[in-house]
Every structure is written in structure tokens, then in C-alpha cells.
Symmetry: C2
Subunit: 403 residues, 2 copies
């Protein structure tokens, strides 16, 4: 069997934990399997590096950020390889570039283009356990190191599993699996044994930080089952796989909350074709990921257009909006980063009317004002004030009987 495992930063935060991970890897090896282990940077490494940058510049180049941050994973792979070897197993560490992970050239947010698995297969054939640096790759045109951005290590693991046609892809994290909502907010939250890609994708997109949406999307495309579990115990976690029963047991599978949300509203934009394109093309050109987009009903041939992005992109997004204001004939704009997005997710929603009404009822009952609403087939999201987020999650978890 060929197994890919991924360990996040908290699982390799110190030498003691690294040794523990080595033990887990060794156990798989002793069962006779080939194994590739993807690791993130140790605990706070990335934050420590970023705080050094802040003492030097407010606007570092993305290329140099990648050069800097990719060292974090390189430290982890070397130490984990040493710990595995200390247990007597043949092992080799590979950086993203050495593992053949080719990306585009969009620094700090690169996308994997393809994986040349020849080096990995060579190492397997020589009996080596392979430890691969997550989060990073190489832009082959420039030979520059790239990083994949948030959740990049999950993406590395799933992409490797797909490229190697692995039998199993285990994502180790610091929680027991995927929960109906954040157990730190709602103590009655329940671990899910199985969840479909689609539901996981919605939850992931909604800031349930267990798995990155890009990783889920890739797993879905390649039909690669993921096992999300804790690196601190051997309990079974949550299996993320294809939907099998059309009739879902649960109407709503989970409640998610994302605090990393900023909102921008444009007033009285001209109502003519191409306006939305102009706005969102300009944002896309700056590599800003826009999440929700809402256009209100027409009044006097003018529209209000609102959208959300991550708080980190707010400054860049405002610069874009500033530059566009005249072109799109907007009267002005407003913005806020003290908002949050709460969402309910469930494949059962499709065939059950009234779920949205029930959600709004719960939020109304908790005295929470809704600033934006957006829906998909299996998700309903509301932007609310940041300070109401916890209250909202509790109310929703309760009304949908998730405990």
C-alpha cells in the first residue's frame, strides 16, 4: 500500500512532537507500506519570520516572502527525517522543488501545475520513507521557489496522493476530525464520522480551519478519500469522501464561522452591462480572492454592489476600488473588517425547503442583524457583526439539533 500523511505545524511544533510523528510514520512503515510524509513549518516559525520582516519593510516583495517562508518547511523535513532515521528506518527529505512540485509563478499564492513523481518513485524503490516539504514548489520558468499560500500543505499532500495514486491520504491535525461546529464555541459539538467532499468544501470555504478548500477540491476532482484525524491520539477521525446516500441523515451537517472577512460596499454604481466585470476583473488582476458578491435591486438605474474578501486583502482591494470609482460612476464606498461570516452546510438542504427561514429565525431570536446573505445548493451564509459571531454559532447549532 502507498500512504500519504500530512502533519500540520502544531503536530511538529517541537522536537518532542517531531519524535512522536516519527513514531507514527515508523508504525506505518513496519506494516510494510510505502509512505510519503508532508509536513508544515514548526509551530510559530512562520509568524516569527513574518515579525522579522515587519522590522525591515511594510511591503516585502512576494518573491522574497516565498524565499523566506519556504525555509520553515525545510527545517521541519530535515528534523523529521533525522527523527525517523534515529528509529532505524531509511528516509530522505525533499523540498517542494526536489519533490517535483511545479507551480505557476504567482508568489505567495502559487497553484500546483503538475508533479513529476520520478524522484519520489526512485526513493520508494530504494526503500526510503520520503519526507516532503508542504506549502512550496518551483516556478520552472524562473527556477524560483514559490509558496502555495494558506492551507498549502494540505494541498501538497492531496496533490501528491493524487499524483502517486496513493491508497490512503491521512491529514493529521490538532483536533479529532471534522465537527458539527467549533467545539471551543459550542461544547456540545459532535465529531462527524463521514462527510462528503461537497459538504467539506463548503465547511472548508467557511473557515472551519481543519482542511483547506483547495485541498478538498483537489481530493474531490481526483476522488481521493481523505482521513482527517488527530496526531495526538489514535482515534479514528473523519472520512471525507464521495456522497453515497442521496437521502442525507442530517439536514444540516455543520455550522461554520469565519472571522477573517472584510466587507466593501459601492454605492450607486451605474446600471449598465460590463460594470461587474470591470470591478471584479480589476480585483482578480490584483490576485484578490473575492468571496460573496451581492448586487441589490435596481433603483433609478443605479445599483449597490457589495462584496467580501479576506481581511489581509482589504487594503489592496480598497486601492482597486479607489482607482475604479470614477470609471464605474460610483457615489462612494464603505468598508469594514469587523464582520464575520456564519454559515450552515448540509447536502440535505437541497431537498428540504425552509432551512433558510429556520436559520434566519434563529439569528433573529438571538437579536443578530444580517448585513449580507448568500446561498448555494448546500450552504447558507450570513455576514454579521464580528461581536455577534459566537452567539450566532451557538443559536444555529442548537436550532438544527447538532449536539
Amino acid at each position: 500500500m502507498l500512504v500519504v500523511q500530512k502533519y500540520g505545524g502544531s503536530s511538529v511544533a517541537d522536537p518532542e512532537r517531531i519524535r512522536r510523528v516519527a513514531g507514527r510514520v515508523a508504525a506505518v512503515r513496519e506494516e510494510g507500506h510505502d509512505i510519503a510524509v508532508v509536513v508544515s513549518a514548526m509551530g510559530d516559525t512562520t509568524d516569527d519570520l513574518i515579525s522579522l520582516v515587519k522590522e525591515i519593510t511594510d511591503s516585502p516583495s512576494d518573491r522574497e516572502m516565498d524565499m523566506l517562508l519556504s525555509t520553515g518547511e525545510q527545517v521541519s523535513i530535515a528534523l523529521l527525517a533525522m527523527a525517523i532515521r534515529e528509529r532505524g528506518f531509511p528516509v530522505i527529505s525533499l523540498t517542494g522543488p526536489q519533490a517535483g512540485i511545479a507551480t505557476d509563478g504567482v508568489h505567495t499564492k502559487a497553484r500546483i501545475l503538475n508533479i513529476d513523481t520520478s524522484r519520489l518513485r526512485k526513493e520508494f524503490s530504494q526503500g526510503n520513507i520520503v519526507v516532503v516539504a508542504g506549502f512550496q514548489g518551483i516556478d520552472q520558468e524562473s527556477s524560483d521557489i514559490t509558496t502555495l499560500g494558506r492551507g498549502g500543505s494540505d494541498t501538497t499532500a492531496v496533490a501528491l496522493a493524487a499524483a502517486l495514486q496513493a491508497d490512503l491520504c491521512e491529514i493529521y491535525t490538532d483536533v479529532d476530525g471534522v465537527y458539527t461546529t467549533d467545539p471551543r464555541i459550542v461544547p456540545e459539538a459532535r465529531k462527524l464520522n463521514v462527510i462528503s467532499y461537497e459538504e467539506m468544501l463548503e465547511l472548508a470555504n467557511l473557515g472551519a480551519a481543519v482542511l483547506h478548500p483547495r485541498a478538498v477540491e483537489m481530493a474531490m476532482n481526483y476522488k481521493m478519500p481523505l482521513h482527517v484525524r488527530s496526531s495526538f491520539n489514535t482515534n479514528p477521525g473523519t472520512l471525507v469522501k464521495e456522497e453515497e446516500n442521496l437521502e442525507k441523515e442530517l439536514l444540516v451537517t455543520g455550522v461554520a464561522c469565519d472571522h477573517n472577512v472584510a466587507k466593501i460596499g459601492l454605492f450607486n454604481v451605474m446600471d449598465k452591462p460590463g460594470i461587474a466585470f470591470t470591478i471584479f476583473k480589476a480585483l482578480a488582476d490584483e490576485k484578490i480572492n473575492v468571496d460573496m458578491i451581492i448586487q441589490s435591486a435596481m433603483r433609478d438605474e443605479r445599483n449597490d454592489i457589495s462584496f467580501t474578501c479576506s481581511e489581509g486583502d482589504l487594503k489592496k482591494a480598497l486601492a482597486v476600488v479607489d482607482g475604479l470609482q470614477a470609471d464605474i460612476g460610483a457615489d462612494g464606498y464603505t468598508y469594514s473588517d469587523s464582520v464575520a461570516k456564519v454559515s450552515i452546510v448540509g447536502a440535505g438542504m437541497i431537498s428540504n425547503p425552509g432551512v433558510a427561514a429556520k436559520m434566519f429565525e434563529a439569528l433573529y431570536g438571538a437579536g443578530i442583524n444580517l448585513e449580507m446573505i448568500s446561498t448555494s445548493e448546500i450552504r447558507i451564509s450570513c455576514v454579521i457583526r464580528d461581536e455577534d459571531a459566537e452567539k450566532a454559532v451557538k443559536a444555529l447549532h442548537k436550532i438544527f439539533d447538532l449536539a
Copy 2:
């Protein structure tokens, strides 16, 4: 003009110092010169990484050590590039592999085989300042990252300067230049304005830590003048260049002291051809650098053979000696790592008899016992007890009027 500068770990120990280095680099740039800057890892980074390793294993693989330690320089180049860009200059950082530095595959002690300067020249032609990671390269056969071992960043700088046919190679350090001896031990020590490659090579080999001998050797081979100076002020430092006057002003140029010395003595080795070869081939095979070798006069067809190596190699050297003892017919061996090597260096020695006698007189006068003696044309070294080293340096500095 094309300038190569090298800044050591203490010169880039924190963001404040990195900003200062950026200022120096910018000043050279403003004069219109092309510039490549080689940097070491920040201050204690390497030691911090090594202490992590110690919590994981006592015998890390050399390949994984290189994977680990090469991250230190990668952090420095990214931060320095950011600091230079913050001053408004176009700049790009390159790892050793990206800078085209190809080495052999001897991990932790790799030698540079050749430098492909095409990427560097491309960056110059685009107007970029180039910041290069010292100490590292790539083994092209395996695509593995290698490190050059101690003094590797000096070697990187000189090799780059030679490959680029630079007009100037400046080695920035935390002292003002090359001194007649360590000013921390002898306050009267004097800075030398000029020193020949040969003298510098002897001093460098003797543990005067300002410049690594490999770097001096390479500079000598390529006739690349080096300017050794402080990164904390703008005083002129010491110029290391070809000997010009055959008649040296000074009989003895400097006194050096190396504490990183271990001594191994083999008793009653068989006196027959090939014995020395057997011993030192076996040590070389383990990549142990042997420094002094002394074979005493024959007694009863048996010899005593002593040699020194670095303290770090002692354990490996003892293992070799252990394995050889029977083959070479030795009665036993002794070893010590509480010894030091003091040396006097000077091109003037060649034509002045009696220098050695004067040295032994000074050491005898200070009540110091000599355990081993070795000489070259321009150097005399004595192995003495570690605790006598400071006293010896002071006595030698005085007797040769170096103050």
C-alpha cells in the same frame, strides 16, 4: 566596476544590522557599480538549529544537516533583499543552487566544482543587485543541497568574485582587519594594512578566525585581492594580496592560536613502508582533516606517530585508529582534546635563521611545555596545553615586537 561583498553572521544578526548592511550595499550601487552580496546565516541561527538536532539525534545524517542548515542563509538573503528594496533599489536574492554554485557530493564539507554565472549575469544586465546565500551549493548529480562547511561563506564570496572576474572582493566582519594576534588576548595587537596570501593562509589555517583558509587559497590561486574590513565602521581594513617586496619589513607578521585541536598519539607502530599511508588514507576516507603529523625517530624498528585534528573529528578519528591498531601493529594510543596550537607566521622567516629558537626561548621563559612542533617555510607551530595558550600568545607577541 563589479564588486563582491561578503557579510558574516554577526553583521546580519538582527533586522537593525541587516538594514545597516543594506545601506552599505546601496552606497556602492549609487556609485554605479554592479554588486553581488554574499551573506551568512543570522547570528545564532546555526547554533539554534543544531540545538534542535541534539534533541532528536546524536548522529544526524550529513545530507539532512545540509538540508537543515542551508535554511539559515536563505532567511538572511530574503531579509537583506527586502531591506535593499526598501531603499528603492532593484534586487533579487538567490540560493547557492540558484546562483549556479555546483559542488561535489560531500555533505557538510562540500567543495565548489564550478560556478555557472549565467543567472547572475542576467540579473546584473537587468539592473539588479544580487544577494547570494553563502555556505551552500548543489550536488548536480543528486540535486541535493550541500554546505561548504566552516568558513563556507568566505569561500562562496571569493569563488563568485573569481568566476565573475570581479574588480574587488570585500570581506566584511566584526573586526577591523587582520591583527598581529587576537586583540582580546593581547591589547597591544596591531592591525596590518597589507598581508600576503601566503602569510594570511598560514594565519587562517592557524585559527585566526578572520578569513577561512579555503577562501584565502582560492583568492591566491585566482590572484583575487581581498579587502578584510569591519561592517561596523568605514575604516580601511587589511588588504590581502600578492607578496611584492621580497625583503619583508617584519620578521614575524602575526601570532595565532587555535583551541579547536585534538591530539592522537600511536605508540610503537611497525617501522615498515606503507604504515603512514594506511593510517592517513583511512582517516582521509572518513573525511577527517589531519593537521600536524609527527613521526619520531626510530627505536628498535618501531615508531611513535602523532597527529592532530579538529576536536569535532576526534571521535571519528579514534574509531578509525581503533580499527587500525592491529593492522599497523601499534601497542596502543593516547589522545587529548585539552591542547591548543600556537603559531608564529611571517614571510620574513625564510631568510632569517634563529626565529624558531627565539620562539622556543619565549615559551620556555613562560614555563610552557611543548608537546608537538611543526614548521613550514613561513610558519612555526607548537602544540601546548590548552590552559597555557593565552600566556604563550602574550609571550610570543612580546618577543617579536609586534605591538
